[in-house]
Structure formats: structure tokens, C-alpha cells
């Protein structure tokens, strides 16, 4: 970095010091509990580099980062797109601000980052990697740097072919999603078969005997060990299907030695690389599992702070609105807008439920007649934030004496009176969490004003039937005075703690939401040769969407036998959920798995077959041909990839039919 460059960055950093510390204050007032965040000012190239390297400065040497950088740069060139923010999941988190961003952009990034840091710190799925010690032990940057150094050293080792290391990394990366991401990360796979330990023990004992290498090689060579192993080994292992393929090959895999023409033990560096790749896969898994939630969460709070709380100055607001609109408007289902909408939906429905529960306790109001006898305009009038908390300036501080005690941050108010707090600039400082919840109450916002009255009869009935304490209030005003205005936020905080994208979408994607946003499913028609809209039903949309999020949107592959055919072959199984594998890619992946197993590898799966004739006939009748499900065994023996039919009995156990992901209606093309 040149002197002037450093100087410039320092100047920007100085300008951002206040926004950074105030954003943190505001975030905490709003109930967020972020990790500490270190902010760095970087230039355009540095930003591209950071993005390419997944948000960290030191990663192992690999072409994929070069590729990502190349792509990042081209994207910038072609689309004029600028990178706004990058923050990594670590404690403390590190966030990077691009020096060329406008101040409004920087502020938006900072508020966005604070929310991400809260999510990293509090979402339980992130805790799996740190084994529940989430707060102190992430240490991601240190881990990745350690990996970078170790792999760099292997590559520099004259004994090891650099290209081999890179290829080995490639093999492992092919399985990076084949881990058991719902399990707490452990460094080693706990094997339940004790004979493995015996093997380890045996080797260890031999080591203890202090025999010379020559003797060991003569007498107790690998083959001998293997034989011992085979003698004791049960016919097949693992006992239960194993989802963590990376761990399994790390424990039991070998490598194929071209020269020797057989499987030999992996080199120590190879096992080490597998360990590292696996640890990184687990580290990044939580982010992949919570993309929609996490982005939505950040977008939600960014908007609350920037727009609603005026964190962007009036002059910066247009810049900000423009930026936000661009991010939310990217086509398709983008995680920012989907997530943000869902969070808002949660907030609104919980708040609505809270209000309805109180309204139902008014004398003479029941779920049957609520929409007829309650004047929603009046209700909304009461739900408006009182002027005292809505518009706070140094002139109106006295009005805060009239509002409930719990809304007001006494200490800050004193300070404001004394002129120590700039209330005109940071009005939120004199409020508490409860006060801010009142100030930001969702149902009173202009865009949500119709939400309350849109409550369905169904929902009213559901709430009404489970309601205790009927008939306590005599008027709307009295009923609403008891409403808990923090209900929406409280629920959101619970959800951000325990959910991942799958449960999030499953729990909160409703008919109302799907219809309102015009979502639909599509399926491929064999008869017409293209995709068609297949359903607009909420249940179908949700099902399809969940398919894309469950298990990283990938099919579930498990190890069912590490001693297949009693020949030490690997048998994988595809747990078929009605959607077949991409067979080409499966074949290519098997070729990689072979490298990590050293011996032939097999995959049992179920495919759907159709012949040209069936398609022809179906097309003439204007309907979709009915494919036939068949069992297949894909096998790669190191030389040749084969696919053969297996009897249905061999795969029957793999077919699960609890969810039907097919959304094709009966007569959809007619």
C-alpha cells in the first residue's frame, strides 16, 4: 500500500468512526447481539480479492480463487456492478468496506453487517461447527490461515508433486456437500466398529515394539495388517448409513497407486488435506444452510436502521434507497428479498395475532363476528405510534414524560436534557428496546395498513378457539392498551436462533405470501420438450422450494457398505426422494470418489426411464408419459464407468415416498 493510499483509507476510516460506533449502539438498542466487528477499508481490487477468497485473506493455494477473482472482475466490468460488502463469520467478525462507496453505501453496509454478525453469533446452526461454544471458539481466520500454510508447505515440498496436491483438493471438493451438516462437527468420525481401533492399536503396538523399518516392511507389512483386519472385519460396515462421505473416505479410504496397480495407504499429507477440506466444509455449511434467513435478516435490520431510523442522512437517503432497490430487485428468487419479505411476514402475523387476541376479549366480540363489529380504522388509529416516540427532537423531549416508563431510557434522556446526547441526530438514544418496538410497530406502517383487516376467517377461528380469559375489555382502546408491541420482534429473535432455511421456509411461507408474490412451480414436460408452469398452489410451491434448500439442494448420498461384495469396494446409495440424479455428473463424481477410495466404487440409485415410443404415444394423446422407475448400479472400477440394471428389490429400501416433489397436474397440457 502506498503512503497516499494509506492516508486516504485512514481519512475514510476516520469519517466512518462515528457511524460504526453509533450503528453498534443502535443495533444493541434494537435487541441485536452481534459479535464484535472489525471494519477495514479496502480498494476495489482488494475487495474483489476478498470476495474471491470467501471473505478471508489467507486461503490455501488453489485455482478456484483465481477463477472467482477473474469472474468477480469481469462481472464488475460488464455489469458495472460494485461489490458492497463482505463480512466473515468469525469472532470478532471482519467486515470490509470499499473505499469508493458513497457514505450512504458505507452506512448501509455497516448496518447490514451488524445484523449478519448478530446472526453468526446467535443462530444455532453456526454453533454446530463450534460445538456449542459459539462465542469464543470460531477462530475461522486462524483455522483457514493454518490450512493455507499447511497446504502451501505440502505444495512446496520437493517430495510431493504440486499438481497432485491440487488434484487431491479437487477430489475432496467434489464431496464438500456430502457431509453430515446437521451433526455437531467433530474432527474425527466416531466409528462404531471396534475392529478399526484394533487396527490402529495394532499399528501403534508395532510402533511401540521399536522394530526397524526393514523388519516391519518384511514381516508386518501393510498387507499383513490388512489381512488381520479382514479376518476380524464384519461382512459390512458401517452399521448405519453414513452421510459424511468425506469423513468415511478419510477414515477408510486408500489411494490408487498407478505404478503398483493397486490401492495403497494414503500419504499422511493426503489425510491431512482431507481433514482440512472437511473442516472447511463444516465451517461454511451453516452459511449455506441459512442463506435466505441470514440475508433477509440483514436486509430487514438494515432497512429498519437506515430508512426507519434515519441512519442515512436525508441527503444520503436517495443513494441508499437506490442501492436497496437494486439489491432487492435482482431477478429470480433472490435470498435478500425472499428473506426480507418472510421476516416482515413473521413480524406482521405475530403482531396481528397479538392484536386479534386482545380484540377477541372485548365484550361482544367473537371470532365469528370480529370483522363485522370491529372498526379496523379505529384499531389502526390506536396502533399508530404516539407522537411522543414517533417524532423525537430536542424540542419534544418533555412529551416523553407522558409515555409508559418502560419505553424511555432515563439515563439517556437526562443526558439529552443536558445536551450531552444529540437527540436531533440520534433520537433513538432516548428510547429503550420497548420504546423502539413501539416506534417501529409494523402494523402501523403505511405499507402494512391493510394487513390487519386481511385476517382470514380461518385464522380468526384458530386464534379464537384457543383463547383464554374471554370478555375482559369493554372497548377497543382498553383492549389495545394491553397489547405487547414487542411480540413481533421477540418472535423474530427466537426464529433467528433456532431455524435454518428449510424450517424457515417450511414454517413461514404461507398461501397468502405465495399468492401475493405470484410464485409458481414448473416442471419439464417430456411430451413438449420444455418446462411448463405446473402449479400455483402454495403447498406445491413450498414443496418445490424446500427441495432446493434441503441438504443444500443436493440429493442425499450415503455410504452403505465399505466392504461391498466382500472385496473392500465402496457402496454408496442415493436415498431417492422421487427426483432422479444427474447421471452424468454422478458418474464423474464417482470417478473422483475412486481416487479417494483406491478401489472400485459403486452407487445404487433409482432412475426414471422412458423410451422414445412412450413419449411419442403420450404426445399424440396430449398427455405426459408415465416414466418407469428402475434400480441402477453405477460403478467405476478405475478404468470404466458402467451402469447396469439391478432388480427392484435391491433399491426398494432407498425409495422414500413421504413427499412427492412432482407438481405436475393430471391433465396439464391438454
Amino acid at each position: 500500500m502506498s503512503e497516499s493510499d494509506r492516508f486516504k483509507k485512514q481519512a475514510i476510516a476516520a469519517d466512518l468512526e462515528e457511524p460504526v460506533s453509533e450503528a453498534r449502539n443502535l443495533a444493541e438498542k434494537l435487541g441485536l447481539e452481534p459479535y464484535a466487528v472489525n471494519y477495514w477499508i479496502v480498494d476495489y481490487d482488494e475487495m474483489n480479492e476478498l470476495i474471491a477468497y470467501g471473505g478471508f485473506q489467507n486461503r490455501y493455494p488453489h485455482w478456484r480463487w483465481g477463477m472467482a477473482y477473474d469472474r468477480q472482475q469481469k462481472q464488475g466490468q460488464y455489469s458495472g456492478g460494485k461489490a458492497f460488502e463482505i463480512v466473515n463469520n468469525d469472532n470478532p467478525s471482519h467486515a470490509f468496506l470499499q473505499e469508493s462507496n458513497t457514505v450512504a453505501d458505507q452506512k448501509a453496509v455497516i448496518t447490514h453487517v451488524e445484523a449478519h454478525a448478530d446472526f453468526f453469533a446467535n443462530n444455532e446452526w453456526f454453533g454446530l461447527f463450534t460445538q456449542g461454544r459459539s462465542d469464543e471458539q470460531v477462530d475461522a481466520a486462524a483455522m483457514l490461515e493454518r490450512h493455507a500454510r499447511a497446504i502451501g508447505e505440502y505444495m512446496a515440498d520437493p517430495e510431493i508433486d504440486r499438481a497432485e496436491v491440487e488434484k487431491w483438493i479437487d477430489h475432496a471438493l467434489c464431496l464438500e456437500d456430502n457431509i453430515d451438516q446437521h451433526r455437531v462437527f467433530t474432527r474425527r468420525l466416531e466409528t462404531d466398529s471396534s475392529d478399526r481401533d484394533l487396527d490402529e492399536d495394532l499399528s501403534a503396538k508395532l510402533d511401540e515394539l521399536g522394530l526397524s523399518e526393514e523388519v516391519k516392511a518384511e514381516v508386518f507389512d501393510d498387507e499383513w495388517l490388512e489381512q488381520m483386519d479382514e479376518d476380524d472385519a464384519p461382512a459390512s460396515f458401517p452399521d448405519e448409513p453414513e452421510r459424511d462421505l468425506l469423513a468415511f473416505v478419510r477414515e477408510h479410504g486408500k489411494r490408487y497407486d498407478e505404478a503398483a496397480g493397486k490401492a495403497v495407504e494414503m500419504e499422511p499429507w493426503q489425510r491431512d488435506v482431507l481433514d482440512m477440506m472437511r473442516a472447511e466444509a463444516y465451517y461454511f455449511a451453516a452459511q449455506k444452510m441459512t442463506k435466505v434467513m441470514n440475508e433477509g435478516w440483514a436486509a430487514y435490520w438494515e432497512s429498519a436502521m437506515m430508512a426507519d431510523e434515519g441512519f442515512a442522512g436525508r441527503d444520503e437517503y436517495l443513494d441508499y434507497a437506490d442501492h436497496m432497490a437494486k439489491v432487492l430487485a435482482s431477478p429470480g428468487l433472490n435470498p435478500y428479498s425472499l428473506g426480507k419479505q418472510l421476516w416482515e411476514y413473521i413480524e406482521n402475523t405475530v403482531n396481528r395475532r397479538e392484536v386479534i387476541e386482545h380484540l377477541l376479549r372485548i365484550e361482544g366480540v367473537s371470532w365469528r363476528n370480529l370483522t363485522d363489529v370491529v372498526d379496523f380504522e379505529e384499531v389502526l388509529g390506536h396502533l399508530e405510534s404516539p407522537a411522543a416516540v414517533d417524532a423525537i427532537t430536542s424540542e419534544t423531549l418533555d412529551a416523553l414524560e407522558e409515555v409508559p416508563e418502560e419505553w424511555v431510557d432515563r439515563e439517556a434522556l437526562e443526558a439529552a436534557h443536558a445536551g450531552e446526547v444529540d437527540v436531533d441526530r440520534y433520537p433513538w438514544k432516548v428510547l429503550t428496546y420497548e420504546g423502539l418496538a413501539r416506534r417501529h410497530y409494523s402494523l402501523a406502517k403505511r405499507q402494512n395498513r391493510g394487513f390487519l383487516s386481511r385476517v382470514s376467517q380461518n385464522e380468526l377461528e384458530r386464534i379464537g378457539r384457543y383463547l383464554f380469559d374471554d370478555a375482559r375489555y369493554s372497548s377497543i382502546e382498553e383492549a389495545l392498551a394491553d397489547v405487547d408491541f414487542t411480540a413481533g420482534w421477540t418472535r423474530m429473535y427466537d426464529v433467528r436462533e433456532s431455524h435454518n432455511d428449510v424450517t424457515f421456509l417450511d414454517g413461514f411461507l404461507t398461501q397468502e405470501f405465495i399468492t401475493e408474490n405470484d410464485y409458481f412451480t414448473y416442471e419439464y414436460s417430456q411430451a413438449s420438450g420444455q418446462f411448463h408452469v405446473s402449479s400455483v398452489e402454495a403447498a406445491d410451491v413450498k414443496k418445490k422450494l424446500l427441495l432446493q434448500f434441503t441438504n443444500f439442494g443436493k440429493p442425499t448420498i450415503v455410504v452403505t457398505d465399505g466392504n461391498y461384495d466382500n472385496a473392500n469396494e465402496l457402496l454408496l446409495a442415493h436415498q431417492y426422494n422421487g427426483v432422479m440424479l444427474d447421471l452424468r455428473k454422478a458418474g464423474e463424481t464417482l470417478e473422483r470418489v475412486f481416487e479417494l477410495w483406491g478401489r472400485p466404487v459403486n452407487l445404487l440409485t433409482i432412475v426414471k426411464e422412458l423410451d422414445e415410443h412412450d413419449i411419442e404415444v403420450a404426445r399424440r394423446r396430449n398427455r405426459e408419459p408415465e416414466p418407469e422407475e428402475r434400480g441402477k448400479l453405477i460403478r467405476y472400477d478405475g478404468e470404466e464407468l458402467t451402469i447396469e440394471d439391478v432388480p427392484w428389490e435391491a433399491v426398494e429400501h432407498l425409495a422414500a415416498d413421504d413427499v412427492d416433489y412432482d407438481t405436475k397436474p393430471e391433465e396439464w397440457l391438454a
Binding site: 485455482w63 483465481g66 405470484d518 408452469v533 444427474d582
Partner: protein, 441 residues
């Protein structure tokens, strides 16, 4: 370690992987490439993994202004939220779902030449007159700005030099005692002075009073200093150069006969009922790389797309591979339309390729009575027919066979190729592109 090295490695790896061009043509997703922008997924870049079959998986979309109707076709599937590679990136806008190696058509053509061992040399055809060389040629008329003044001045000067004469001397000469105009003229001509008889006569009259000032011509020669034209110009300056219209020359550019390599490619596809999805796809796999290749080889490539069943009609590229219709098949309809459309692309100016594809089904006698004569009639570097029959030959599907019987297998401007599976695609492309004879034109 470090960025530079990782980029370097990526380049190397990318290079290695581009050997897979043939494989890409056979199996890759061609849809994302247009003739002017070819995107080839770099295979290593998307390391393989266990994934769902894209078609079987289906997807979720968001309607633009309203929920669409069930059954309505959707275009290319929208990017799905699960598609992107998380990897901790919080970058605002994520990239697409695949990694592409972008190639321009020239590069593609070069790669394909290397991959398949092709040697197609495009021919320059149309002379582009606009191609102007230096302004070295001259003509007698033209805009003022191109008038060659230097030349005109020189010509004028030359004329002046030849026409001008020493007027003073001749005037004195006319004063010689008893001299007649005729004698003075003859003397002057004897001295090679370019004087006219009329001038002498006039001067002779003017000096009539002074006649006798000189006793003889010799006395004049001795006493009067003669001045050459050059001396006179030097003394008087160049007061007047006689410009004449006949000396005017205008510069105009030398025409360099630059020949542009133009190509027009006619893609004809049978879209009748019998053309199933598989056949459709195989045609796309064969035609698209041909389009790219020719785009890369020629300076200027234009494409004409014709769909036909029993009738033929012109379509846009976007629609060409997707169209399905009912009806029978009459291949000649497409050639008739092709002949008509090609009138805009005269054979003298354009290289022409006419590629047709179908499953060889045709109305009876159409091939022999109409198609073959049309193929012979339409001038083209190459006519090709791509037969696609993934599920074996139908009995009546004899179009390709008949063409082959008529034109023979080694005709140098007709190629017949058979594509029954993805594996045949590159062979077919080779067959077609290696057929074009060297003897054209």
C-alpha cells in the same frame, strides 16, 4: 502463494480443460451462447458433484405481474436460490450458476479447427468499393477539394514557358528598316520563338512610325539584350499563369480491391410432428456449432432460419429450435423459400451454406422431383443434410439416402451426415465442414 499464482493456475487449468470442446458440443448447454458470444462452461470449474437431474427437479418461478396459468410454457428456468455457491460470500450480487469460459467466434473456429483437424479457408467474395486507398489516381472532373492544383500550376507554367516569348525583342525587331511582318514572323519562328503571326502583324502596325530605327536584324541582335522567359519571370515575377480547363485534374482514391469474406448460412429444420424432442436437440447440437464456426471464419456472417412441415416459413433464431408443428413434411417447400430468400445474397458476393436437418421423412417423390433439382439450382459452397434418427430408421424416411444415391458420397458441395446420438455430433460437424471443395468459384 497468493492471488497472482491462483489466477495463473486457473488460466492453466482453463487451458487444459478447453480440450473438452468436442465434449461440450455433444453434451454441454449450448443455449446460453449466441453466435457473437459463445459461452463455454469450463468443466473443471464446475467440479462434479452429486446433483439432481435438472429436468426432473423442476423449479419455482415468480410471475411478472400476475400468476401465470398452469400449462403455460416457461422459458429458461430462472436462477434458483439454492443454486448459488454459498461459501461465505456476502457479496451483493452473486454470479450465475455456472462458470463459463467465454470465447469469441474466431477463437471457437480456431479451436474447432484444431480439435477436428479442419482446414476450411473462407473465400473473399464481394468487392467492397468503399475500401479507399491513397488518393493517387486522377480524373478530369471531381469536387473542388480534390483538384490537383499543383499539377495544374505546373502544366500552366509549362504552357507559359512554351507560349511566352521576349516581346521587347520582337517589338524592336519590327522596327528594322523595311522589314515586313511576314519576314519578322519567319525570323522569329527560325529562332523558335512561339509567337503568332497575328501578334507580329499587330505589333508591326503599332511601330510603323518607328520603322527604320534599326538598320538591320543583325543590329537589333547586337544591341537589344534578349531575355529568356526564365529571366523574364525572374524579373517580373510570375504575374500570370495561364490556367486552362484542360489542365484541371482531380485526385481520386485508388481502389484497392478488398474482398470481404461474406457468408450467409441458411438453416432449415423440419418441425413437423415426427420431430421429437431428442431429434430437435440433436439438430440444435449440430447446427449451433456450425453457426458459431462460420461466424468465426468469416468477416460477416448472416443467418437465415427456415422452419418447415408441408409448408416453409422464415423464423427468428430464438424460435428456430423450439418450434413444433403438426402436419406432414415437404422438404422442397423449404428449398423454394431458401432460393427466394437467397436472392438478397447474390452468389457473386456471398459465400452460401445451406444446411437442412430432419428425420429424412418427406412426401413421396418430393426429394427426387423437387428437392434435388432445387439443390442443384441454388448456388452454394455447400449443401448439407443432417439426418437424425435416434430410434432407428423409419421405413419411409429415405430423403438422406436418396440424396446420397444421387450426389454420391464424395461430392464436394453436398454433404450428408447422420446424427443419431450425441456421440455422432462431432463426426457430423467434421463431415460437413470438411466436405466443401477447394474448387469453388
Amino acid at each position: 502463494m497468493g492471488l497472482r499464482e491462483d489466477i495463473e493456475r486457473f488460466r492453466e487449468v482453463g487451458e487444459e480443460r478447453r480440450e473438452d470442446l468436442a465434449e461440450f458440443i455433444q453434451y454441454g448447454d449450448l443455449g446460453s451462447g449466441r453466435p457473437d458470444d459463445i459461452q463455454i462452461p469450463v468443466k473443471i470449474v464446475s467440479l462434479p458433484g452429486f446433483e439432481y437431474d435438472r429436468r426432473d427437479q423442476g423449479g419455482v418461478g415468480q410471475g411478472q405481474g400476475g400468476t401465470p396459468d398452469v400449462g403455460q410454457p416457461v422459458g429458461r428456468p430462472q436462477p434458483q436460490p439454492g443454486d448459488e455457491d454459498g461459501d461465505g460470500e456476502e457479496a451483493g450480487e452473486d454470479g450465475g450458476e455456472h462458470e463459463y469460459y467465454q470465447m469469441d467466434p474466431e477463437e471457437f473456429a480456431q479451436e474447432l479447427d484444431d480439435a477436428l483437424g479442419l482446414e476450411l479457408e473462407p473465400k473473399g467474395k464481394r468487392v467492397i468499393e468503399e475500401k479507399e486507398g491513397p488518393y493517387t489516381d486522377l480524373t478530369r472532373s471531381g469536387p473542388d477539394s480534390t483538384l490537383d492544383f499543383e499539377r495544374m500550376f505546373k502544366e500552366g507554367l509549362k504552357r507559359k514557358l512554351t507560349m511566352d516569348f521576349d516581346e521587347e525583342f520582337l517589338r524592336e525587331l519590327c522596327k528594322v528598316d523595311g522589314i515586313t511582318a511576314r519576314e519578322a514572323f519567319e525570323y522569329a519562328r527560325g529562332q523558335n520563338l512561339p509567337v503568332s503571326m497575328a501578334w507580329i502583324e499587330e505589333t508591326h502596325r503599332e511601330v510603323a512610325d518607328e520603322r527604320g530605327a534599326w538598320p538591320s536584324i543583325e543590329a537589333v541582335e547586337e544591341s537589344v539584350e534578349r531575355e529568356t522567359v526564365q529571366q523574364k519571370i525572374r524579373r517580373e515575377g510570375l504575374k500570370h499563369v495561364p490556367f486552362r480547363r484542360e489542365d484541371e485534374r482531380y485526385r481520386y482514391p485508388e481502389i484497392i480491391e478488398e474482398r470481404e469474406k461474406n457468408v450467409v448460412v441458411v438453416n432449415i429444420r423440419d418441425v413437423s410432428g415426427s420431430m421429437r424432442e431428442k431429434k430437435r436437440e440433436l439438430v440444435e447440437r449440430t447446427f449451433t456449432p456450425l453457426d458459431w464456426y462460420l461466424t468465426g471464419k468469416y468477416d460477416n456472417a448472416e443467418f437465415v432460419y427456415i422452419a418447415h412441415d408441408a409448408d416453409a416459413w422464415q423464423v427468428e433464431r430464438e424460435d428456430f429450435f423450439g418450434i413444433r408443428s403438426g402436419g406432414g413434411t415437404k422438404i422442397s417447400s423449404a428449398y423454394e423459400l431458401a432460393a427466394e430468400l437467397l436472392e438478397e445474397y447474390p452468389w457473386s458476393d456471398w459465400n452460401r451454406y445451406v444446411f437442412a436437418a430432419g428425420d429424412s421423412e418427406n412426401s413421396s417423390n418430393d426429394t427426387e422431383e423437387r428437392v434435388i433439382p432445387l439443390m442443384e439450382e441454388i448456388d452454394a459452397n455447400l449443401h448439407a443434410y443432417v439426418e437424425t434418427q435416434p430410434s432407428g430408421n423409419a421405413i419411409n424416411a429415405t430423403h438422406a439416402e436418396e440424396l446420397e444415391r444421387y450426389f454420391g458420397t464424395d461430392a464436394d458441395d453436398v454433404a450428408i451426415a447422420y446424427v443419431n446420438s450425441e456421440d455422432d455430433v462431432t463426426d457430423a460437424i467434421y463431415e460437413i465442414l470438411s466436405t466443401e471443395g477447394e474448387t469453388n468459384e
